[in-house]
Amino acid sequence: MTALVEAAGLTLPGRLSDTTLALAAGELTCLVGPNGSGKTSLLHAIAGIGSPAGTVRIAGDDPARTGPARRIRLLTYLPATRELRWPLGARDLIRLGGAGPEEAELAVVRLDLAAVANRRVDRLSTGERSRVLIARALAPNPKLLLLDEPTANLDPLWQIRLMEMLREDLARDGRTALVAIHDLDAAARYADRLLVMDGGRISADGPPGAILAGPVIPAVFGIERREGTWQPVR
């Protein structure tokens, strides 16, 4: 399968060193790693946040040379923080950045936000606010989704629904997603491919089953699977 996203030489000084990565259409790639290992930095570098060095091509287009109106069709980025700088209505926030009214409405329905769509986001629960921000990232149907901890603050049912929704979308439309996540079991269950970050570099890359069973996880995280659960390495 040809790569939909090609990134080369991505560097953010002190956070991410010379990372090269290709993402295939239709694949869900999960990004795991300890705190401070560079997961968010990799997402930032691909999204063009913080003046990264290196090149990114999405379906042949350079997002750095693409204006805001078209860029939102190339990539969207969901930050890990659910705090907002300015209180807007949920529906208005979903449309911010350029999603059309119909796309926004579809996202409202898919994330079950119709009941709160006219309320201000600062008056929603943290989980509802998370879903509003996820809807904002999904609504424009970009070729590349960069999601930082999308399942954080979601209840167990919504965690499952979201990951399944992502898999369906990607498979159907031939788009791709890079998802930073802490839950190794969720990564194993939903990812087509797993990247392990350590010290600002990708230290392992492959099918989740093989990586989670191999020596990388104990070496990087200091945990191992015993009696069916993850426990500190003895």
Binding site: T66, G67, T76, P79, E83, W86, G89, G97
Partner: protein, 322 residues
């Protein structure tokens, strides 16, 4: 803002402008049959600059306030509270002290430089992601410093006349400005407003956070620099001609956002229109005041604006951010 609301605001603006030209009508109406030319001259050379300056200065304060509030993501930010106005006043007073009140270009340059210095100092002190407390404290410190230095410049005034000129100008006034002076304030101010209007969409995106705004393709650092320079340029040019006028830049954006469902960037246009309306209304109020002499307009906006500001602070205490 819907078209109907925009049209309504436009109509109100036109009415306010006409009222500002015509009122009080008695003197001019009496003069028209006797000396038509003199009556026209009164309208064009006395009333027109005053009406135009109220519109332009008010619009500049409104648009600048909306842009600064969107940039700092804070409804309490405004050209007065960030020290821009007092910085501009200090710049102009120092220039006037050195060169006298006769050189409008020098005064404009001095005021813009003062405003830029104040905003630059604020960004350096409070940082780009300023929280409310840091922002207000830094703005307070800068305003206090600029105020003290302005007072010092007044205290060292070479003559009582120079002191009175400077003091009167500091209170803010739209009266007795020439058409040339109006152009000195108006051209930079209108350029600044037009440019700020083009930044509405990136300013809205900032509501999602600086990281997301960057991922959407907006250069946040460049945006911040543009807002700082444009507001200093526009407000500085107006302060140089009309003195410091407070509170419009705080109040107008808050009303404006009621028309844009809270969108901070989209509020720049209605904030400019509401700012123009408010300052024109305040100017009309100074003419209607039943006192022997006209009230200084800066005093009127402060008298009306300060209670609103108190209400806003009380409102925010209960986390009802407008």
């Amino acid at each position: 803002m819907t078209r109907a609301v925009a049209a309504g605001l436009g109509l109100l603006l036109a009415l306010a402008f006409m009222a500002s030209l015509m009122l009080p009508w008695g003197a001019i109406a009496a003069l028209f049959p006797q000396d038509r030319e003199l009556a026209w001259a009164l309208l064009v050379e006395l009333r027109l600059p005053r009406a135009a300056l109220a519109m332009i200065y008010g619009a500049t304060l409104g648009a600048s306030g909306a842009a600064i509030q969107a940039l700092f993501a804070n409804p309490l930010a405004s050209p007065d509270l960030t020290g821009t106005t007092s910085g501009a006043a200090l710049g102009a007073v120092v220039t006037a002290y050195l060169l006298g009140f006769v050189a409008p270009i020098a005064l404009s340059i001095g005021a813009v430089a003062g405003a830029l210095a104040a905003l630059g100092l604020l960004l350096a002190l409070a940082g780009p992601r300023a929280e409310t407390a840091t922002l207000l404290l830094s703005g307070l410190a800068i305003s206090a410093l600029a105020g003290a230095l302005t007072t010092l410049a007044l205290a060292l005034a070479p003559s009582p006349f120079a002191f009175y000129d400077a003091y009167d100008w500091l209170l803010g006034s739209l009266v007795d400005r020439s058409l040339v002076q109006t152009a000195f304030a108006g051209v930079p101010a209108l350029i600044a407003i037009a440019w700020l209007l083009r930044l509405a969409s990136p300013l809205d995106s900032l509501a999602l956070g600086e990281d997301v705004a960057e991922s959407l393709g907006h250069d946040v650092l460049k945006l911040r620099l543009q807002i700082v320079c444009l507001t200093a340029f526009g407000v500085g040019a107006c302060v140089a001609i009309c003195g410091a006028i407070g509170f419009i830049g705080l109040v107008a954006p808050i009303f404006a956002r009621r028309l844009t469902r809270g969108h901070p960037g989209r509020a720049v246009l209605p904030a400019a229109m509401i700012g123009a309306l408010l300052l024109t209304a305040a100017d009309l109020a100074t003419r209607a005041a039943p006192l022997g002499r006209a009230l200084p307009i800066g005093v009127v906006t402060a008298l009306l604006g300060a209670p609103f500001f108190l209400w806003l602070v009380a409102h925010m205490r209960f986390r009802l951010r407008p």
